[in-house]
């Protein structure tokens, strides 16, 4: 897949566990953040987003936490399933007036049955 050659940190969990994936972003002026999931052979799939005026947002089985003080973003996945196995990317949009996403390196999540 596209991750070959990219040295990714890996998180291994058991099915049913809760997973927490962390991301440190670079630009304190960023005001919009998105988590993407990428499965092998596919493009990044939108999971959840959060704006900088929030510190927490919940979706279905997922929660994103934003700590602007330390420029840290996390994705929590409840009751992790084998189908959650993928590479997860955080992305930020700096407050420059443009819309380009700046991606992190990604974290590989491996879920064992």
């Amino acid at each position: 897949g596209e991750s070959v050659g990219l040295h990714l940190p890996t998180l291994s969990v058991q099915e049913g566990d809760n997973s927490i994936i962390n991301c440190a972003y670079s630009n304190s002026a960023s005001d919009y953040f998105i988590w993407y999931k990428q499965e092998s052979g596919k493009g990044p799939q939108f999971i959840i987003d959060i704006r900088s005026n929030m510190d927490k947002r919940q979706g279905q089985r997922v929660t994103v936490l934003l700590n602007k003080t330390v420029k840290h973003l996390s994705l929590q996945i409840a009751a992790t399933q084998p189908g959650d196995s993928a590479v997860y990317f955080c992305a930020e949009i700096p407050n420059t007036g443009f819309q380009k996403l700046v991606f992190g390196t990604g974290t590989r999540l491996l879920v064992s049955p």
């Binding site: 596209e2 998105i34 596919k42 443009f98 700046v102 990604g106």
Partner: protein
């Protein structure tokens, strides 16, 4: 609703040849973006169209890359002549326009380009 589609899914060409990649955004999305991941690197922004106009092309690596979006619908990205370092996966994304600020970008499956 159909998602972002890209064609071809794979392309293998020789150094010096020309390749054209195509992206069809989600219907009604005025914003179209090109990104790429070259081996061992993160996904990097190339450029952004708003309808048929280039809003931001700060990520285009050099003048061997030409992106067009005539008519404001689908877009093409041409690489001419291709070099070895152009190998990677090229992603297209699209998003709606919003008066309230930034909105989510939805990605296509990518085109894997291999330059030999």
């Amino acid at each position: 609703e159909a998602g972002v589609t890209q064609f071809p899914s794979h392309s293998v060409i020789e150094k010096g040849q020309t390749v054209t990649l195509r992206c069809d955004p989600i219907s009604g999305h005025d914003n179209l973006y090109w990104y790429r991941r070259v081996m061992g690197k993160e996904i990097k922004f190339l450029l952004h169209f708003v309808k048929e106009s280039k809003q931001d092309e700060s990520g285009m690596p050099n003048n061997r890359f030409l992106a067009e979006r005539t008519g404001g619908t689908y877009s093409t990205l041409k690489v001419q002549p291709a070099e070895l370092e152009d190998s990677g996966v090229y992603f297209c994304a699209s998003s709606q326009s919003s008066w309230t600020g930034k909105v989510s970008q939805y990605f296509g499956p990518g085109t894997r380009l291999t330059v030999l």
